[in-house]
Subunit: 130 residues, 2 copies
């Protein structure tokens, strides 16, 4: 563990971006942020925990929605300022009910929806979101 | 194009993280940053251009090394604060000569190198780096 943290460069507010990638098919599911506590908890529990910048607290992915991410492997990049999380995603990663947060693509010069919801967000959250 | 920029949320210094993913095999190659100019240039030319935070200028990926990235598709996430670039990578993405910048993984509690260089970095840059 010590070999990891000495290689990481958290930014000026103590955060590092984390990309969650579906280990089954390689889809990029989402990008969020971690602080040191979130990463330590993720490694300790095997369940992905981010840091919510809007709520300014740890964000245990799926705690409300049930759509958890099990960490399969953590990778870090060459300059230690980004994390790649290979995960087993339960259900969907996106609060809109889509499997991936990257469901809009530029096609023919226009932003186009390329994937629809698989789950009704109200089923996941009631009236709030994750 | 207008439909894109109104959906994007650049951060407080005008940047947005961009993940480059190999469109052939789904490998996450690198994470870097773009400002509006870099993204506009990328869309206009089809060659990926980032913004270098260390050099504080546009960084035309591969300009020095020849290891260019051709944009195949741009995707954005649900809250418009991250970009996913599906790319055709010429050669290697990492300045260390490795295909992906994410060549270190936590395995058995230790940071472990999981991929070696495919190209000698000195071949790419002489004595400097990208």
């Amino acid at each position: 563990m010590s070999s990891l943290f000495k290689e990481l460069n958290f930014n000026e507010v103590g955060l590092i971006p984390a990309i969650a990638q579906d280990q089954k098919n390689g889809d990029v599911l989402m990008v969020a942020w971690m602080n040191r506590d979130a990463l330590e908890e993720t490694l300790a529990t095997g369940q992905v925990c981010y840091y919510s910048r809007s709520r300014q607290k740890l964000w245990r992915k799926g705690e409300t929605s049930g759509q958890m991410q099990k960490l399969v492997e953590l990778r870090i990049d060459c300059d230690g300022d980004s994390l790649l999380l290979l995960v087993d995603q339960t259900g969907v990663a996106c609060h809109t009910g889509r499997r991936s947060c990257f469901f809009r693509a530029m096609r023919n010069g226009e932003l186009t929806e390329i994937a629809g919801p698989e789950i009704n967000p109200e089923t996941l959250y009631g009236t709030s979101d994750d």
